[in-house]
């Protein structure tokens, strides 16, 4: 179990790190997609099939497509290569992240989490009952959130009609 998870963890992490490091925007976005696929596989190994499915669908199918669209729409035109981040920003950012990283690492190191037997996976039918039962309110809220995202996304991204520009 642990070995499998460790291998999958590397498969997730390596593209994620690479995505942050490469300079080409398209490459970077694709590497992110790879990392998300890896994560879906990781979820699968954890026994959360439905979540893995949702992850693959939403991220690989949805978020990455939106990202690529955005890349294409906003393309600088001449080149996909962006100037590298300024040294000051990189160092400042890395210093800040290293603080957080050491915080997380030390808290993990000191934590006394009991090692338990894995819980049994949840059958899909039970999941459906849960969503219609105790989590009904959450389902309703998520519906509203997606509505807002839909309306908002359309409003913000839609080009302005020339008539509107005149009197603004």
């Amino acid at each position: 179990m642990t070995t499998l998870l460790a291998v999958l963890a590397l498969i997730c992490l390596a593209p994620a790190v690479a995505a942050v490091l490469v300079r080409n925007l398209i490459h970077s976005a694709l590497l992110f997609v790879l990392a998300w696929l890896g994560l879906a596989a990781f979820y699968l190994a954890l026994g959360a099939e439905f979540v893995a499915f949702a992850q693959a669908l939403v991220y690989v199918g949805g978020v990455s497509m939106v990202a690529l669209f955005a890349v294409l729409l906003t393309r600088p035109g001449r080149t996909d290569l962006l100037p590298p981040p300024s040294a000051a920003r990189a160092v400042g950012g890395l210093a800040a992240v290293s603080l957080v990283a050491s915080m997380l690492a030390s808290s993990l190191f000191w934590s006394r989490l009991p090692s338990m037997e894995p819980t049994a996976p949840i059958p899909l039918r039970r999941l459906g009952e849960l969503l219609a039962g105790p989590y009904l309110v959450a389902v309703l809220l998520v519906g509203l959130i997606l509505t807002v995202a839909l309306i908002g996304g359309l409003l913000l991204a839609a080009p302005r009609r020339p008539a509107e520009g005149a009197d603004a």
Partner: protein, 673 residues
């Protein structure tokens, strides 16, 4: 006779007048004036009735309390209080207000905003009266702040003048510094006793049980809660009553119309601080201190009072603006009152407060009459020779002067000042307040002689003075009434017949014969004589020839005079200390900001740069002048800090992340368990 539960009518009348006046259309100029006059006269009659009620039972604290709201399980209660102190003060405030209102109708007759002026005045008087009849420290604070707000509006009434706008702001902000202490004291008191009522049938904060508890609660350092709260409340009084070191606003406040100066910066508003200290006197005296001598809070009051009394008189000596001389004189006299409270004789302080209100209102209105006649010339160097042109004003002004410097036996100021000095002499802790008081007596006589000589004697040294005429009837009427009061108000508290003191304390005060105080009276008479002689010799004997001639005092003692003109460099001191501190802090803060924002790379360069910044800031501050520069320093600090907000969102996020790490570190260090 007015019952305590109807006391709210006294402030309600002017408040109503202000509300209606504010809503009145601009075309109805006379309406707010008529309303204000009617309301204040009504309040005057009501406060007379209240006084009658209070004097019927001077020792009883008649209250009418009610619950204002519940905060959780704690009731916040308010109420009205009828006792001789509040009732006397109400009569005084209403009486002076009536006269000042009448005076103002003539003084501001041609001002297009006459209606607004009276609306503000009514609001001010309403707040002041509310302060006097409040039986709750919270209610008192609310009125106190309203008084401040109204005075802000009135000082800045001629807002076209930048000086007036600046003075209004300075007054508001400086007094607010003291108010912070007041608010803290209130919160502490509320926290410690669960009530803010003064008297509540034994459960109020100024009554037995609460006082004992406050005096028994000790803080680290051996202080008692009573002392701490007393000192904080006194801080509020320091701001409002222009005591050292927050006196800087009062002289500047003379930018307002002169009736305003008379009403709020001589007779009533500044007296609010003294009133507050007198009101909470039982609390301040609750801590018995060493050997039965109340030392802690009251000692501070006595010290500050003495310093202010002396300092105000010294600073008045070198002023050339009539109103500023009177303003510093007010500072000095308020110092006397605080001194008296500090040495334990709060009834003497109230006595002096009453007489001072009469004669200082008279002097201010007299100076207003002069300024009005001399076409708004208020520099004494360009006046002169008005004694013949404005005989009535001159005579009343002389009477006011006599009262202020305490000419013996007849004038009110003599008796009240005698009461103050007598108490100071008997103070067992130190003789310094007494000596400061005596020195103030000489100085007061000196600067008032100088003022009268320069303004009224000699010959006219300017166009305004040369063409002056006596003021209209409405003005002289007010002067006449106040002149009578200035002379006679002292007769209610002479050592031979201490009626006022008996009424205030609610217990008969034994009349001490003339013998006991005779030495002091003779001494102060001699001192007054010396002051008049010195002033007369320097100024009246050989008046300056024209407005550019140097001051006689400056000819003889140039160094001293320069120091006094520069107001003993107190403003500069503020700029140098407060301003420098702020800039140092700002430089430090900017340095920290840049470090976090800009990353470690440029660290070395930044250190050098920032060190230079700090040096530069300190150098520049050495040259700065003025109390107002302290606030500039503050703004400067803010700008430096503001620049750290570079507009780059990743910089913001860096701050967020670093902040998160610091939070976690603090939490781990604090030990979440």
């Amino acid at each position: 006779m007015l019952h305590a539960s109807h006391l709210w009518l006294i402030p309600a009348l002017p408040l109503l007048a202000a509300a209606v006046g504010a809503a009145a259309p601009r075309t109805a100029r006379r309406l707010p004036v008529a309303l204000a006059l009617g309301a204040i006269i009504g309040s005057f009659l009501l406060s007379l009735a209240a006084l009658a009620g209070a004097l019927a039972a001077p020792a009883a604290k008649l209250t009418a309390n009610f619950t204002w709201f519940w905060a959780g399980s704690t009731a916040v209660r308010l109420g009205w209080l009828l006792d001789p102190l509040g009732a006397l003060m109400s009569v005084l405030v209403c009486g002076v207000s009536v006269l000042v209102f009448i005076f103002s109708t003539a003084y501001l007759r041609d001002d297009p905003r006459l209606g607004r002026f009276f609306t503000c005045l009514s609001l001010f008087v309403a707040a002041m009266l509310g302060l006097l009849v409040a039986n709750s420290l919270l209610l008192l604070l609310v009125c106190w702040e309203l008084v401040g707000l109204a005075s802000y509006l009135l000082i800045g009434f001629w807002f076209e003048r930048p000086a007036a706008a600046a003075a209004a702001k300075k007054a508001f902000i400086t007094t607010r510094l003291g108010d912070l202490g007041f608010l803290l004291g209130l919160l502490w008191l509320f926290h410690a006793t669960g009530s803010s009522l003064f008297y509540d049938g034994g459960a109020g904060v100024l009554e037995g049980g609460a006082l004992e508890r406050l005096a028994a609660t000790t803080l680290p350092g051996g202080w008692t809660a009573a002392t701490g709260i007393g000192l904080l409340l006194f801080a509020g009084a320091v701001g409002k009553s222009g005591q050292f070191p927050l006196h800087v606003w009062l002289p500047d406040a003379m930018e307002g119309p002169t009736p305003v100066s008379a009403l709020i910066h001589a007779a009533t508003m500044v007296a609010a601080g003294v009133f507050l200290v007198a009101r909470v006197f039982p609390l301040m005296a609750a801590d018995q201190g060493l050997g039965g001598v109340p030392v802690h809070a009251l000692t501070a009051v006595a010290v500050i009072g003495s310093v202010t009394a002396l300092l105000g008189a010294l600073l008045a000596v070198a002023q050339t603006d009539i109103k500023r001389v009177l303003a510093y004189s007010t500072v000095s006299q308020l110092g006397y009152m605080m001194l008296a409270v500090g040495v334990g004789a709060w009834e003497a302080a109230v006595f002096h407060l009453i007489t001072h209100a009469c004669f200082k209102a008279l002097l201010f209105l007299g100076s207003g009459s002069v300024i009005h006649a001399a076409h708004h010339e208020q520099d004494a160097r360009r006046l002169g020779g008005l004694a013949t042109r404005m005989r009535f004003t001159y005579v009343t002004f002389l009477l006011g002067t006599g009262a202020l410097i305490g000419l013996p036996l007849v004038f009110s100021g003599f008796w009240s000042k005698e009461a103050v000095l007598h108490a100071a002499e008997l103070w067992p802790v130190s003789h310094l307040p007494f000596l400061a008081g005596l020195a103030g007596v000489v100085l007061t006589a000196f600067y008032m002689t100088r003022l009268v000589s320069e303004t009224f004697l000699g010959r006219a040294r300017g166009d305004g003075a040369a063409h002056a005429h006596e003021s209209p009837r409405a003005m002289t009427l007010s002067l006449a009434v106040l002149a009578v009061a200035s002379v006679a108000a002292g007769w209610i508290g002479t050592p031979a017949w201490p009626w006022l003191q008996s009424q205030l304390t609610g217990a008969p005060v034994a009349a001490h014969g003339l013998g006991e105080g005779l030495g002091l009276m003779i001494l102060s008479t001699v001192l007054v004589g010396a002051g008049i002689a010195a002033g007369g010799w320097m100024y009246a004997h050989s008046p300056r020839a024209d407005d550019r001639a140097p001051d006689p005092l400056a000819r003889r003692f140039p160094g001293v005079f320069a120091a006094l003109v520069a107001r003993l460099w107190i403003d500069e001191f503020y700029a140098a200390t407060v301003g420098r501190l702020l800039r140092g802090a700002a430089a430090l803060a900017a340095w920290l900001e840049r470090w976090v924002w800009g990353g470690l790379v440029s660290l070395t360069g930044r250190v050098a740069e920032t060190t230079g910044e700090v040096n530069r800031a300190i150098d520049e501050d050495g040259l700065n002048t003025g109390f107002d520069r302290a606030s500039d320093g503050l703004r400067d600090a803010a700008q430096r800090y503001s620049r750290a907000q570079t507009g780059e969102v990743q910089g913001y996020l860096r701050a967020v992340v670093v902040g998160l790490a610091v939070l976690a570190l603090l939490l781990v260090w604090g030990g979440i368990r």
